[in-house]
């Protein structure tokens, strides 16, 4: 498993690349991630690094939580996330170390994880891309945005599990793989990747080096 850094999605825009091509990009703020806890096989039966991101006020933080980040010499932090990494990588870091944008390099690919926008209880057209009565098949009739047939009759006399229907849509964790790093700005803690990233503007995203990167 790769080290997964925490960041904030700032929004999308377009950028001209050196070739003159216009590229759609997402801008991600990666303020320094702080190593809060080191987990090792000896103590925890697995090895991992816990990273903290974005400070918050001590007033609304419980004392155990304040004590936890204090071990790394930090004030309370809003987000704490663990990355499973090899023990050798854990040994490379000390508590309180900062991991910055320059962890990545321009041109390499990254995987970005976010939580998709919640759409509440959504119908089949929005949720599954069905066509309603715009389709001439699948039994949809009369009601414009309905699904139509949900299966055969006496055999099997039931609706198969997993049949696509209306329901809660969005608010799911989703990873977009192989986004190319177009640019990064170390002073501003900015990472610019090509393409879209799940989640709202201002939402938490996690960035790691691509697990399926072309070498």
């Amino acid at each position: 498993m790769a080290l997964r850094l925490l960041g904030t999605k700032l929004g999308m825009t377009q950028i001209f690349e050196e070739s003159g091509e216009m590229t759609p990009v997402t801008i991600i703020e990666l303020a320094p991630n702080i190593v809060i806890q080191k987990k090792t096989v000896e103590t925890d039966k697995y090895s991992a690094l816990q990273l903290g991101y974005e400070s918050k006020s001590a007033k609304n933080t419980s004392k155990p939580e304040i004590g936890h980040t204090k071990k790394a010499g930090q004030g309370p932090l809003r987000f704490l996330r663990e990355s499973r990494v090899d023990g050798a990588i854990v040994d490379n870091y000390n508590l309180g170390d900062e991991i910055k944008v320059d962890f990545f390099t321009t041109g390499e690919t990254v995987d970005v994880t976010g939580v998709t926008k919640g759409r509440g209880f959504a119908g089949v057209i929005k949720r599954h891309g069905m066509h309603g009565t715009a389709s001439l098949t699948h039994g949809a009739h009369e009601v414009m945005r309905h699904a139509g047939s949900i299966g055969a009759s006496a055999t099997p006399a039931r609706v198969f599990r997993g049949k696509r229907m209306a329901g809660r849509y969005g608010n799911d964790r989703q990873t977009t793989q192989n986004l190319r790093v177009v640019d990064l700005r170390v002073e501003e803690n900015i990472l610019i990747v090509k393409g879209a990233v799940s989640g709202r503007t201002g939402g938490l995203v996690m960035v790691q080096k691509s697990i399926k990167a072309k070498r």
């Binding site: 700032l10 377009q14 950028i15 001209f16 070739s19 003159g20 900015i190």
Partner: protein
Amino acid sequence: MNIVDSIRNQQVNDDIPEFSVGDTLRFRVRVVEGAKERFQTFQGSVIQRKGSGIEETFTIRKVSGNVGVERVFPVNSPNLSNITIVSRGKVRRAKLYYLRKLSGKKARIASRRDFTPKK
């Protein structure tokens, strides 16, 4: 100003001459063929301009050998250079789509007489 806006605005080129729909432009387009790179001159009239900031594009139309040719470019594209205004047009519409149906003398745009092209 937030960071997204500043990245957007950084790329806006202020040196591009102000032009609007109806104007005739001449400019060079960078064309990359394999490893080689060359410049193509394009001259035509602007029939559409839309978007703002870095997303702004324009459509330019010319008739080449009885075939209408339309191309869309980002206004701030680094592939464009030497943009010159050949003439300014007197038009009453923001989008000159009607030119597509016209040909010959009908497809002309009246030029504004208060404009003198730079030599």
